[in-house]
Structure formats: structure tokens, C-alpha cells
Amino acid sequence: IAGIEFVYEQWLNSIDILMSNVTNPSSTEKLKESSLEALGYMCQDIISPAIEAKANPILTAIVHGMRKEEPSDHVRLAATNAMLNALELTKQNFENPDERNIIMQVICEATQAPHSQIRVTALQCLVKIMSLYYNFMEQYMLRALFPITVEAMKNETDEIALQGIEFWSNVCEEELNLAAEAEEAQEQGIAPQHVSRHYAKGALPHILPILTQTLTKQDEDDEDEWIPAKAAAVCITLLAQCTQDAIVEQILPFITQHFGNDNWHYREAAIMAFGSILEGPSAQILHKLVEQAIMPLIGTLNDAHAAVRDTAVWAIGRICDTCADLVTRPETLQSLIPALFTALHQEPRVAFNVCWAISSLAKAAYQVAAEQGTDENGEPATYILSSVFQQMVDELIKTTDRTDANTANLRIAGYEALMELIKNSPQDCYAVVQQTTLIVLKKLEQLLNIEHSLVSASDKAQLRDLQSLLCATLQSVLRKMHREDVPAISDPIMAGLLQIMQRCVGKESGGVMEDALVAVTELITVMGVQFGKYMDQFKPFLLAGLINYEDPQVCLAAIGVLSDLCRAFEGQIFPLMDEFMAHLLKILENTTVKRTVKPHALGCFGDIAIALGANFARYLNTTMDWLVNAASAAQISNPDDIDQIEYVELLREHCIAGFTGIVNALRGQNELALLLPHVQNMVQLIDMVARSGSLSSESLQASACGLIGDLVTSVGQPILPIVETEPILQMLQKCRRSKHNKAKTLAQWTTREISRVKKQV
């Protein structure tokens, strides 16, 4: 009820009543507890300036309930929960040192309460405070936060230890953000707004031994439980990113000492510690470390204990991500590849990580080969995995056929790896890619045949994920396929995709429809106008996608397909266009369509215009009305509202794409008269982008520069006075000096066009 009332600034006295329920000595324990719970729910659920204005009475009640003198654990726990929910509202109180001290004091005292749930919740408050109010924490760190959280990390109660670890993970995340902010500020030559106090680096020697010890407390079986050992691994990963080289020498003794320990808990912990520090330290140090470790690590893929093999193969996957050149050495691969193939037949949890390691290895090998040189499509001629490529594909397909492949997401991981292999394949693996396409198509057919026999919701969900993945695999294959080879396989591909789309009609498809549409897009891109033979069958699905307002992603994908069809068919799409255009206009008119979809429809006008050329005149006035209205509505009224800025950016980007297409379509002398009445509106949008300064992305400014060039080229001299204004010239100058190719190329071209037109006098 408060959620409804507070928006209208009504019923705010309910907070005062709840507060006095808590502070009144004659209130019963139950009344105090219930009142605090109510306040907690209000703080959790209601986002309104009205409740922020009531932060003081809320805090008074909460602090009163949290005091160590409070005899009831129920009341104290309800108050601590409410504090956790109220922290976002207390910004002003945290800025006031006296009030901040009181809040910190009651929370720190609550971390020592005898009742363990109160301690856990109070620790959660500290975790959250570290994120919300990092810059106020200096005075509390050494005397309170550090000793409290270090003790918590050592606690035997998992829930308490988890919060202690979470605190330091949060410190690392905050300091990583601050490091990024400092780097950005340095690039811009300004001082950062907030600075890091490097608490993680300072605490490292004290918390790392606790964390490594915690790593050894793994559970034998339960892989899904969140336990301190797993939280410790995540915390070490973040500490490595945050403290970089500093962590290496401190953690190395633990790794070397326990790598060959008889106790599997220690062996696994040592490998986990090693795998966790592979991102952060400098390349030089990492290289040395990995060079020593890689062969022994491959050896542990034969370990007697599954958890050790599981972690070892995960660590190898991480090495592939971070040390591509090292892992792709022939002497390493000679041992690694057979070991991975063997591990692929082990427990699903191990095989899952092998799939991931193979993906990373393929990416690493491709990257190394591409650095040596590529063809005009960016593909290297060969790579180090070429000789085993076929075998890798075969092994992965066998994995997806395992009877236990539905455990631990193994089947999905197998297809993911297959997709990465195809995506990262050089020219000499092309024949295998072609064969794989046929296998994938067969799989798709099998899946479509078993669909009706599945009963359980989980089986159906897994099948949908698999269909999505197979569509994605087809996308990868099509992107690799040579244009001349596509007609040989396009019929079965399209037949499979049409079947999938048919089965999605009228039900929640869990994203399958969208993936199928994206796969169609790839087919259109590679087939060009030859895709026309499928249009009769495909058009109903495309039209259905364009009016699927309930699933914005499908609607968006359908608009994307239409854009690609325009590029592929060019003028030949004209006979179909009345129907498509009517659907696009309905998207814009409909008030229930998600607002992020509409800009894409506006951008699509540009693709249609380019395809139709002078024939676009038929749609000019209607589309211009929509574009001009949208462009004038694309205003930033609140520079602090990130959502608004993002939406305005999206809208402007697509309006510019729409205008750009139209200007390019109506370039002929006969069409110039049609264009002229709209020029002023287009320049207005360009001017708005220019005036928005850094609130407009460089990419948007570059597109705006391109549109100026198009207008200058088409209209000539008469347009110069309205485009040679201070903000627009400044934007052109900024883009000319940009580090990004797109901005630079477009701004330079536009400047040349302006000079050329000037000289034409």
C-alpha cells in the first residue's frame, strides 16, 4: 500500500508511526519486530524521493532496534535486515560524520552479536557499504572493518565466512572500478573524481593465507553449493586482477608446496590457486609461471580424483585464454591434445571443462595464426590445429551424443566448442567445416523429430537451448562458407530453419525464433538475391515477426532481416515493399511496442530507401514525418539520466541512418526537389548531436559527419551556411583528429566535400 501511496506523497506519516512503534519503550517485542520488517520492506521496494526524504525517522527506528542493548534477537535481526535495505537511502547521513559514525558503530557491534544470523546480516551491511560508500571508509578500515572481516573469514560457520570473503571480493571490485576510472581520467588529462585507497594490496599478506587455507575445504560431491572454498577462489581471482604482480610471490609457495600433495583437497586447492591468478599479473611474470606449470598440469589430467582433473582442465582453459603463444607450441600440444581427448570421455563435469578448454585453444591457435597473416577475408591459410581439426570435430560430436550429455550442461558445451572451432578455422580446414554443416543439419532434423516426444519442462527447455545453439552453429558455418558452395546446402538449411520457425508459431519459443531469424539473415547475406527462391515460404514468418510486439527481440530480429533483405535484393524488393512498409509503420504507431524496438524501424527506412533509390519517393513523406518527429523528440533533458542518454543515442543513431539512406537514395537531379524541404530538419538533428558534446558517442558524431557530407554532396553550395556553424565545425574537427578510423575517415571526407563544393563557384 505504501508503494502506491508514497508515489503521490500520501501516507508518509506511516513511517513516523512505525518509528514510534520501535522507539516507544512500552511497545511489545512483536510490534517492534513487525514495524521494523515493514520499514525494511518499504526501503527495499519503494523507489521514490518521498521515502528518501524520510530517511531520518527510518534510520532512527533502525538504529534503535539494532543497539546492542536491545534484549530481543528478533527485534535486532529485523532492524539489521531493515538497515541492509535502507543503506541506499542514507547517502546524506553517510556524508555527515556524526551520523555515519553512529550507523557504522551499530553495524560493527551487530557483527559481534551472539545470534549468528544477526552477524551474517550485519556483515552483509558492511559488504554493501563498501560498494556504496567506499570513499568514507578510511577511518573505519584499520580499526574496525579489517579485523571484523578477517575474523569472519576464519569463522567455522560457512555463512559468516562467506560474508567475510565477500567483503574483500567487493573491495577488489570497487578498486578495479576505481583503477579503470583513474586510467580514463588520465587519458582525458583530468583528475579522477574518486581515488583508490588500495586496501586490497595492503590486506593481501593478511588475507591470502586465510583464503588459500579456505580453498582446501572443498566438498566431496556437491558442485552446486556456494561454499567458502569457492568464494575464496573467486576472491583470489579478483585479488590477482587488483594487485597484479604483487600476488604472485605470495601465493607461489602454497601452489608449489601442495601441487603434489597426497591429500586431494590440497592438490585441487593448489591448482585452483594457480588457475585463479592467471589474469592480472604482467605478461612477463605470467609467461614464466605458466611455462613451468603447463606440463605438470597436463599430467594432472590423469589424477585419481575427479575434482582435481576438473580444476586442472579448467586451469588449462584459462591458460589458453591468457597465454596463447605458449599453449600453441608444438611440444605443448603434443601432450595436451591427447590428454584433452582422453579427458573428454571422463565425468560430465570434467568433459564440460574440456569443451571449454578446446574452445579457448581454438581461439588461441587462430589468433596466433592470424597474427602471421591472413587473406582478404581475415582468415589465415592454416594453423597449428589443422592436422587435428577433423579429430577435434569428431570427438566433440561424439561428446554431444553421450548418453549422459544432459548432465552438467555437457551437450550444450560440446556444441559451443564445435561452434568456436568452426568460427576459428583457417582456410585449410574448410572441407571439414563443409562436412560439419551436413552433420549439424542432420542433428537439427533429429531434434525436430524428437520434440513432440518430450514431456518434462526441463527437457523442453534444454531442447530449446539446443535448437538455439544449432541455429547459432549454422550462423557460424554460413559465415565461413564460400559463396559458390552455399547453393549446394542452402535448401536443407532453409528447410530446417523454416521447420523451426513453424514450430515456434503461437508459443513462447524461448529465443529460438530469434536465433532462427538471425540464421536466415546470414543466409541472406551470403546468398544475396538468390535467396529470392525462399521468399514465398519465408515471407509469412518475417511478417509475423514484424508484428510480434510481445517478444521485442523477435520483432527486432525481423527488422534486421528486412534491412539485410534490402541490401541483398536492392531494387528487386520493390514489389514486396508496400506490405513490409505497412508493418514497419504499425510498429511505430503501436503504443505497446517496447520503446527500444522503434528506433530500429526508423533506421530500416534508410536501408529501404537505398534499395529502392528514386522509387522511395512513394514513401518519402510518411517516413520523413516519423523521422523528423522522432529526431525532435530525441532530446537529453537530464544529463545525469543514463537510461535517457542511451535511448536518445539509439534514437538519434537510427534517425541519422534513416536520413542517410534517404539522402543517398534521392541523389539524382530529378529527386533533389523532393529532398530540399527536409534538409533543414536533418541539419537540426546534426546540430543537436554536435551540441550534445561528449554526451553523444564518437560513433554517433561520426555518422552525423557522414550525413553532413551526403547533404553537401547532394544539395551543394546552398546548404553551406547552415552546416558551417560553430558546433558542427567543431564536431568535424574533433572527428578528424579521432583515433578511430570510422570517425576520422568520415570527417575527412566531409571536409573534402565541403572544400570541393566551395571551389565550384
Binding site: V234, A472, V526, R567, N664, N741, T745
Partner: protein
């Protein structure tokens, strides 16, 4: 962090990323198409934008 660890929504995240990539490719195809019209590039747009592959 627990959810991240459990890989909850990991597949959804990858799916989202694939779709985002598809949108990016479409955006890039549109830009390349217009660049061609402006005479700023001659070749057809490249098909693959795999990581590590630099655009000319």
C-alpha cells in the same frame, strides 16, 4: 557472485552476446554499404569479424 559461479544464465548470456554480435554485424554491414555508396571503400563488406581479425 554465487549466480555467476553457478553459471546460472551463462547460456542465456552467451545467447544474448551472439544476438548482440548479430546486431553489430548488421550495423557494420549498413555502414559499409553506405561507405561504398560514398566511394570510400571498394570491396564488399567482410564476412567474418572474429576476435583477432583486424579490419583493413
Amino acid at each position: 557472485r554465487f549466480r555467476e559461479f553457478k553459471n546460472e544464465n551463462k547460456e542465456k548470456e552467451k545467447q544474448r552476446q551472439r544476438r548482440q554480435d548479430a546486431l553489430e554485424r548488421q550495423k557494420s554491414a549498413r555502414e559499409d554499404f553506405v561507405l561504398k555508396l560514398r566511394g570510400l571503400i571498394n570491396s564488399t563488406p567482410k564476412k567474418d569479424t572474429s576476435p583477432g581479425v583486424q579490419r583493413p
